[in-house]
């Protein structure tokens, strides 16, 4: 029996979040189980059900490298340093 991953979109500005999973014999039953198991008190205004086998997964090792791309972000330390230097030059 296929396992589906359940994503819910709460009302408001937030996007879909992963709510959990369920086993269902087909899409129609998956929709029924989703309503009964995950949306009993308006937890979502939209739901996505995706058969787990169709999800493409990237694991932490593959993504780790992106956390070290210093050139892709700027913590402002150089700007601070330059500003400091300019202030000091101005007071001397």
């Amino acid at each position: 029996m296929p396992t589906y991953e359940v994503f819910l979109k709460p009302d408001g500005k937030d996007g879909f979040f992963h709510a959990g999973s369920l086993d269902a014999p087909d899409d129609e039953m998956a929709a029924l189980y989703c309503r009964e198991t995950y949306i009993r008190r308006g937890e979502g205004v939209q739901a996505w059900l995706v058969a787990r086998q169709h999800i493409v997964t990237l694991d932490p090792k593959e993504l780790e490298v992106t956390a070290h791309r210093q050139h892709a972000s700027n913590d402002g330390s150089v700007v601070a340093q330059r500003r400091r230097a300019r202030r000091q030059a101005g007071t001397e």
């Binding site: 959990g20 999973s21 369920l22 014999p25 009993r40 090792k61």
Partner: protein, 301 residues
């Protein structure tokens, strides 16, 4: 997939606040411990739902019937969520877990090994047992190292909160009711206080793996004590007597101290030979067998 070369590395990862995910190459002892814990939680939710179902038609009035129906569905729903999380640990399939439970090979919480004699018993369960469950679940939710369990607990804990408030509302109805209603609740409290104290488990041993790996964040005694400090004064305020002759207030700390606990009854429930274990397991098996045609109709294995 993350891999830890040694157990020391894994322990350090946990100490540093790491979260383990299903795809990780976690140590098999960790996998087993987490699985065992979640499976028991799932079994208990399912049994809780099945036991409560008995009271849906017996609850006084349409409002209470509907509330009980919703609560029963929540408990069965929690079991469903937890079985999915447990199955992803690949120790047992969902079908195996259900088979083991129906055959009496699995454990479930001690409180579901007892008979509910009156409507007041069910209120004690709805209030005190749910509060005890909430106390333990909040302690897991706080910093559990297994990601999927922690995330699913957030939802479960929020729904248990409704149940507890519903339980307190029903308790207050009896507390403010006739003498017969008050006596009925007191009699139920007398039956259930010990099982509720047992619910938190025997004193946690040194080196407990669930604590070491931050599945649980507090010892059983600490959780029991947290519950006692909150609910003893509350029950007294509502006019009831906590059935523990040794219960007293420590003069210097002002904290409530309970008497020694006799663990014999808890041990019986842990081996599925509690007062009502056989009947409870049989009831769930009947319910499972009676719905076989539905699974068959849906071509569900």
């Amino acid at each position: 997939m993350r891999v830890w070369e040694t157990m020391e590395d894994f322990d350090q990862f946990i100490v540093n606040g790491g979260t383990v995910e299903p795809g990780d190459d976690m140590p098999s002892a960790y996998r087993q411990e987490v699985f065992r814990f979640i499976e028991m939680h799932a079994n208990s939710e399912l049994f809780g739902g099945l036991c409560e179902r008995y009271w849906v038609s017996r609850a006084p009035g349409v409002h209470r019937k509907l509330a009980f129906l919703a609560k029963t569905q929540d408990e069965i729903g929690h079991a469903h969520l937890l079985y999915m999380v447990a199955a992803d640990l690949a120790v047992k399939s969902r079908a195996q877990m259900i088979d083991d439970l129906m055959a009496g090979r699995s454990k479930f919480h001690n409180v579901f090994h007892y008979k509910t004699h009156t409507w007041a018993d069910q209120i004690v369960i709805a209030y005190l047992v749910d509060a005890a469950a909430l106390t333990t679940q909040q302690a897991v939710l706080k910093q559990c190292s297994y990601g999927p369990y922690r995330r699913i607990l957030r939802r479960i804990v929020s729904e248990e909160g409704f149940h507890m408030r519903h339980g307190e509302e029903m308790l207050l109805t009896l507390a403010d009711g006739t003498v017969t209603q008050q006596n009925m609740f007191q009699a139920a409290l007398d039956r259930w206080w010990e099982p509720v104290m047992h619910f938190f488990g025997p004193p946690t041993k040194d080196g407990d793996l669930l604590i070491r790996w931050r599945v649980k964040s507090d010892t059983n005694e600490a959780l029991r004590d947290r519950f006692v400090q909150k609910f003893v004064p509350m029950l007294q305020e509502y006019g009831f007597v906590v059935p523990d002759p040794a219960l007293h207030r420590n003069a210097s700390t002002g904290k409530w101290v309970i008497g020694d606990i006799d663990w014999a009854a808890l041990r019986a429930t842990q081996s599925n030979v509690g007062p009502d274990s056989a009947a409870r397991i049989e009831l769930s098996k009947q319910s499972w067998d009676n719905t076989a045609w539905v699974r068959e109709a849906l071509h569900v294995p």
